[in-house]
């Protein structure tokens, strides 16, 4: 079964020069889409947000391989922290969310969040007037 999974990879300095994504393609036939990348200079840790598409089995194998070589992986959904206590349910985040992960449900206009649609662009963090969307990791 083909599936897509969004994962955040944190890799230590020693792995920054290793062609990790190439290995994923070559060994596990994974199609990947880089959604975001950060190469931090200070702490030397790199971050890559990938969408992996492949068979269930191959995605499992890729994640195992990444773990073995010392890459920390996390599912993306843990990145965006939506604080419902701080949120007033206006629609500002939904107006800029490119993947419609945040959206309003008429007629009551309640705000909904579907983490699996989130691509981690962090636009919502910048625009939320009430600091109700925060980053949990990274």
């Amino acid at each position: 079964m083909e599936l897509s999974k969004r994962v955040v990879l944190h890799f230590p300095e020693k792995l920054v020069e290793k062609p990790i994504t190439y290995e994923l393609v070559k060994n596990y036939n994974i199609v990947f889409n880089i959604l975001k990348a950060k190469v931090a200079v200070d702490d030397g840790e790199g971050m890559l947000l990938l969408e992996l598409t492949g068979t269930d089995e191959n995605i499992g194998k890729s994640l195992k391989y990444l773990k073995e070589i010392g890459v920390k992986t996390e599912p993306l959904t843990r990145d965006i922290l939506w604080s419902k206590d701080d949120c007033i349910m206006c629609g500002i985040c939904s107006s800029i969310c490119p993947s419609h992960a945040f959206y309003l449900k008429p007629p009551q206009m309640t705000l909904e969040f579907e983490p699996e649609k989130c691509i981690g662009c962090e636009e919502c963090l910048r625009v939320c007037p009430y600091n109700a969307i925060r980053l949990k990791l990274m």
């Binding site: 007033i88 206006c90 107006s95 009551q108 206009m109």
Partner: protein
């Protein structure tokens, strides 16, 4: 069949008042008809929760020993207005820190402003104060540094010169670049349309001719109680109205006052509008006494009866051309999609409908439990007969 406010208050006292929210009343009259409902229902409650920049709070610190006639002061690094008596200060909702990078780092984030300061004050948090004076014989102290909470000071009351706009623009951008406005980010080429009103729940929409909402009206304000004290600045009652009596663009406004010490931070939220500035999101709810059938009919207004002007914020708004590019009703706006010309444009609200609903329900529960009584206004707000018009600046300027 006429009722009086005294009769309604008597029913509230006995726990017998019949109260519905402005949303519920629409269904009630559909079933029961206007005549019967006007007899049976006593009060309709409204609500709104959105950024209202023309807001602020007066505080009186109490006197220091020795005394100080403060001429400049900063609370949590936000400058406050001191051009009144010795230790009276006014916190403006949109004031930002002198060190805020503003739009020099475009788009500015405006993370902490006067609105946030008011929210922190209401929440009982410690507020840092720094103040200066030139010193006088009777007020010798020249410098003050310290901290306080709302419990340490004499007075704190919200006094908002303009809140609760009756209708508002729908903002779009026909330009080629993304723009940052007080109505949110507007994508180029009509990428989105943003609006800001509770529509059928909005207070002045439910009393469009200001028959019951006037000077002296007791209201839900910031989670506590407050009063309408005047028409708000830019009050514009002569705007054209549609057949339901609804003004077709921004018109009536109110100035409100209330005891900040009894309000709740949940209903007064510091607001950071990217690329624009800081503000305060204010919760207001107004109860409308159903004195006769006409007043009831007005409260039964629905989103499809309310029409708002679509304004281009890339050119027409900043240049005050007065041009509108279309009109659209709130039912369409709330559906999430409207048509402008031959383009389908997604729509987004800036004010919160779920919170407006919650305010109307809280006010309803206050009335049902005898915690909140209605007031007669001591003077009506200027209506269309006043001839009052909101005009552009007519002074000389370059």
């Amino acid at each position: 069949m006429q009722k009086t406010i005294d009769e309604i208050n008597e029913k509230i006292k006995k726990g017998k008042a019949v109260v519905f929210t402005a949303e519920e009343i629409i269904e009630v009259t559909k079933e029961e008809g206007f005549k019967k409902t006007a007899r049976q229902v006593d009060v309709v409650t409204t609500g709104t929760f959105g950024p209202m920049c023309s807001s602020g709070a007066f505080i009186n610190l109490g006197h220091t020993r020795p005394r100080m006639r403060i001429t400049k002061a900063w609370l949590n690094d936000i400058e406050v207005f001191c051009g009144i008596a010795a230790v009276d200060l006014y916190i403006g909702a949109t004031q930002i820190s002198d060190n805020d990078p503003t739009n020099t780092e475009y788009p500015g984030r405006f993370k902490y402003g006067g609105g946030h300061l008011i929210e922190d004050l209401v929440a009982g948090k410690k507020i840092k104060i720094k103040a200066l004076s030139y010193g006088t014989d009777c007020y010798p102290k020249k410098e003050l540094k310290g901290e306080f909470t709302i419990h340490d000071i004499n007075d704190a009351f919200l006094f908002n010169p303009r809140n609760c706009y009756q209708n508002y623009n729908v903002a779009v951008n026909t330009g080629k670049e993304k723009i940052h406005t007080y109505l949110g980010i507007l994508k180029p080429n009509l990428g989105n349309a943003n609006y800001c009103s509770a529509g059928q729940l909005s207070p002045l929409m439910n009393d469009p001719e200001y028959r019951t909402i006037g000077i002296g009206t007791r209201i839900f304000l910031g989670g506590g109680t407050g009063y309408v004290v005047w028409q708000g600045t830019q009050h514009d009652p002569t705007v054209l109205r549609n057949k339901r009596g609804v003004p077709v663009s921004g018109s009536g406004t109110i100035a409100v006052i209330g005891d900040l010490k009894k309000m709740k931070p949940e209903w007064l939220r510091g607001t950071s509008i990217i690329g624009y500035g800081a503000s305060l999101t204010v919760g207001i709810g107004i109860s409308i006494p159903i004195l006769d059938e006409e007043i009831l009919r007005y409260t039964c207004i629905t989103d499809s009866d309310i029409v708002a002007p679509v304004v281009d914020y890339s050119y027409d708004y900043p240049n005050l051309t007065g041009r509108i590019i279309g009109e659209i009703d709130y039912a369409s706006l709330k559906s999430g999609r409207i048509s402008i010309g031959n383009k389908t444009v997604p729509t987004f609200p800036i004010s919160s409908y779920p919170r407006a609903q919650k305010i109307s329900k809280i006010l309803k529960s206050w009335i049902l439990s005898g915690k909140f009584y209605l007031t007669s206004s001591v003077q009506r707000l200027p209506g269309k007969e006043s001839g009052i018009k909101f005009k552009p600046f007519r002074g000389r300027y370059k």
